[in-house]
C-alpha cells in the first residue's frame, strides 16, 4: 500500500498510528510523502534562544520549532511543527521568527507562481514568558504572515494535543484558513489557571477538568463552528483531513472576517447568566 497517495485507504486500516505520541519532527515527517521531508534551519544550524541561558533554562538547538518542506499528498507544502515538550511549546524570539519567516517564504513562492501550501502543527501555550515582549512581538509577526499567505493559499492549522493551543497562538490558529483538531486538543485564549486567578474560582474553576474540556476541547470547538474538521488521533486521518483542506482551497470568506454572523450570534447571548458548553452548542445550532 502506498501511504503517500492513499490516505483514505489508510484511514480504514485497523491499526491506527497515534499522531499525539509523536514529537514535532516525527509529526511533520509523518504527514509528508515518503522521501520528501526536508528540514530547514534544523538543529545542526544551532540557532538557539539567546535569552534562556541567563534565566537558568537550557536552550534547545531548534528552539522547539521544526520547519520542513516537502510534499503532502503530492502538493508542495511547508509543515511547521511546534514541539510541545520544549518549554510547553512556548513562542520565543527564535522559534517565532522561524514560523513567521517560513510563512513569508511560502508567500513569496506563491506570489511567484509556485503554489506552496502551509500546515501549522500547533502545540503551544503561547508567549514564552522568559522572552515576554519579544515573544509577543514575534506572535504579531506570525499573525501578519498568516494573513498575508492565506490570501494566496490555504494555511491549515492542526491542533492534536496534548498541550493544546493557547494565548496569542490561539489567535494565530483562528487566523488559519482551515482548522483541524482531535478530541484530545484544546483551543482557548486564556488558560484555566489564568482565568481563575484573574476572575475568581466562581468564574472558572481550573481544577474542574470536565468544565475545561467541555469549554475548550476539540469536540466542543468543532460543534460550535470554530474548527472545520474533527479527526481521530491517527496519522492517516490527519493526512486525509489535510487533503480535504487543500481541496477546499482559499475560503471565500475567512472565519475571522465573518463579522455580521458573529455579531448577530453575540447579540443573541444573555450575558447576565453564566453559560455552559451545551448552551453554546444549542445557540450555535440556531444561529
Amino acid at each position: 500500500m502506498n501511504s503517500a497517495t492513499s490516505p483514505q485507504v489508510l484511514a480504514l486500516h485497523p491499526f491506527r498510528r497515534s499522531f499525539i505520541e509523536l514529537n514535532a519532527r516525527e509529526r511533520a515527517r509523518s504527514l509528508m510523502d515518503e522521501g520528501t521531508f526536508e528540514e530547514l534551519l534544523g538543529p545542526f544550524d544551532r540557532i538557539k534562544s539567546p535569552w534562556l541561558p541567563a534565566q537558568g533554562v537550557v536552550p534547545q538547538s531548534d528552539d522547539g520549532v521544526v520547519v520542513a518542506r516537502g510534499a503532502v499528498d503530492g502538493c508542495r507544502t511547508v509543515v511547521i511543527a511546534i514541539e510541545g515538550m520544549f518549554q510547553g511549546g512556548s513562542i520565543g524570539e527564535v522559534s517565532g521568527t522561524k514560523i513567521a519567516c517560513a510563512l513569508d517564504l511560502a508567500c513569496e513562492d506563491n506570489e511567484a507562481g509556485q503554489r506552496t501550501y502551509a500546515v501549522l502543527l500547533l502545540e503551544t501555550g503561547g508567549v514564552r514568558l522568559q522572552e515576554a515582549n519579544l515573544g509577543l512581538a514575534v506572535i504579531a509577526e506570525i499573525q501578519s504572515s498568516i494573513i498575508a499567505l492565506r490570501r494566496h493559499t490555504p494555511v491549515v492549522g492542526v491542533i492534536a494535543g496534548m498541550v493544546g493551543c493557547f494565548g496569542g497562538m490561539a489567535i494565530s490558529a483562528a487566523l488559519c484558513s482551515h482548522l483541524i483538531a482531535t478530541r484530545e486538543a484544546r483551543l482557548g485564549l486564556n488558560g484555566p489557571e489564568v482565568i481563575e486567578q484573574e476572575a475568581g474560582v466562581e468564574e472558572f474553576d481550573s481544577t474542574d477538568r470536565r468544565l475545561i474540556w467541555s469549554a475548550t476541547g476539540g469536540r466542543q470547538r468543532f460543534e460550535t463552528g470554530f474548527v472545520d474538521q474533527l479527526v481521530k488521533d491517527d496519522v492517516a486521518a490527519i493526512r486525509a483531513a489535510l487533503r480535504i483542506a487543500f481541496q477546499q482551497g482559499v475560503p471565500a470568506k475567512n472565519r475571522s472576517a465573518e463579522i455580521d454572523k458573529y455579531l448577530a450570534f453575540l447579540a443573541g447571548i444573555d450575558p447576565t447568566a453564566q453559560l455552559d458548553a451545551s448552551a453554546v452548542r444549542n445557540l450555535w445550532e440556531r444561529a
Binding site: 534551519l41 544550524d45 524570539e93 515582549n133 499573525q143 463579522i259 453575540l266
Partner: protein
C-alpha cells in the same frame, strides 16, 4: 468617579486621547460604549480613529474595565473593514488605533464564545488594511498588554508610544505575571532589569526596535493644546512614512535598535531564507 476609574486609578487615557485627537464633536460610529470610532481630518487625510475604553455598563461583565472582549474585537473589525471596503481605492485612508488596553477579557463566557476568534477578527482587519495600502498607525497612550494589544494595535505599520511611566507594553500584566511565575513583583522587576524583553519600562521596550517613535514630553493624562499638536504632527509623519514604506512588518527588524537586540531574529531570517532558496 466610577468603580472602573477607581480601579484603574486614573481616568481612561484611551477616552482622553480619543477626545483630544478625534474631537469631541466627531460623529460616534459605534453601537457599544466600549469602542470609540470616528473620522477627522488630519493633515489632508480623513483618518479613522479607534479606541477601546472602559464602560461600566458593558453587558459582558468581564469587559467593563477597557479589556478587549468579544464584542470589542468584532466591533473593531467592523469599523476597520468599513474603511477598507469603501469604494475609493485611490484614497487609502489612514486608520489610527489609540491603545490603552489592560488585557483581553478573562472569563468563561469569553472562552466559550471564542474570544480568540474575536481578537483574530480585529487583528486581521488591521493587517488586511495595512496590506491594502492603508497607513495603520498605533498610538500607545497607556497599557498595551497581551492579547489586547495583539488585537488592537500590534498589526500597525508604525507604532508610536508616549515616553511616560504610565505606558506599559508587555506580554502580560505585572500582577498576573507574578502570580503565574510565582515570583514577587519585586523579583519580577529585578529580573526585568537584567533581561531586556522582560522589562515593563517603555524605554526598555523601545530598545527592541519595534517602535517607530517614542514621543517625549507629553502630558498623557491631561494634554494641553501644545501636546495635542505635537502628537498630531508625529501621527502625520508616521502616516507619510507608512505610505512610502513596505506593507509588511519588516521595518521592525530594520531599525538601529533591532540590529542590536534582535540579532537572533535577523540571523534566523538570513539563514532560513538562504536554505529555502538554495535547495
Amino acid at each position: 468617579m466610577s468603580e472602573t476609574e477607581l480601579k484603574g486609578n486614573r481616568r481612561s487615557r484611551g477616552r482622553i486621547w480619543f477626545a483630544a485627537l478625534a474631537g469631541t464633536k466627531c460623529k460616534q460610529l459605534c453601537s457599544i460604549g466600549s469602542v470609540l470610532a470616528g473620522d477627522t481630518d488630519l493633515g489632508g487625510n480623513r483618518v479613522r480613529y479607534l479606541a477601546v475604553v472602559p464602560d461600566p455598563e458593558n453587558r459582558f461583565p468581564r469587559a467593563r474595565s477597557g479589556e478587549l472582549g468579544l464584542e470589542e474585537g468584532w466591533i473593531l473589525a467592523k469599523h476597520i473593514r468599513e474603511v477598507t471596503e469603501e469604494h475609493q481605492p485611490e484614497v487609502r485612508r489612514p486608520i489610527i488605533a489609540i491603545v490603552d488596553v489592560p488585557s483581553q477579557a478573562y472569563g468563561r463566557r469569553e472562552e466559550l464564545l471564542g474570544i480568540f476568534l474575536a481578537c483574530a477578527a480585529a487583528a486581521s482587519a488591521y493587517a488586511d488594511a495595512r496590506f491594502a495600502g492603508h497607513p495603520v498607525i498605533s498610538l500607545v497612550v497607556g497599557n498595551a498588554l497581551s492579547g489586547g494589544f495583539l488585537a488592537h494595535g500590534y498589526q500597525a505599520n508604525r507604532i508610536l508610544a508616549f515616553d511616560d511611566p504610565g505606558v506599559v507594553i508587555h506580554a502580560m500584566g505585572k500582577q498576573a505575571a507574578a502570580r503565574v511565575t510565582k515570583r514577587s513583583v519585586v523579583e519580577l522587576d529585578e529580573l526585568a532589569g537584567k533581561v531586556l524583553p522582560l522589562s515593563y519600562n517603555v524605554r526598555a521596550f523601545a530598545q527592541l526596535g519595534i517602535l517607530h517613535e517614542l514621543i517625549q514630553g507629553v502630558n498623557a493624562d491631561a494634554p494641553t493644546e501644545t501636546d495635542i499638536k505635537k502628537v498630531e504632527e508625529a501621527l502625520e509623519r508616521a502616516i507619510a512614512d507608512a505610505r512610502v514604506g513596505s506593507r509588511n512588518l519588516d521595518n521592525r527588524l530594520r531599525s538601529p535598535e533591532a540590529m542590536q537586540t534582535r540579532k537572533a531574529s535577523i540571523e534566523v531570517r538570513r539563514l532560513l531564507t538562504a536554505q529555502w532558496r538554495g535547495s
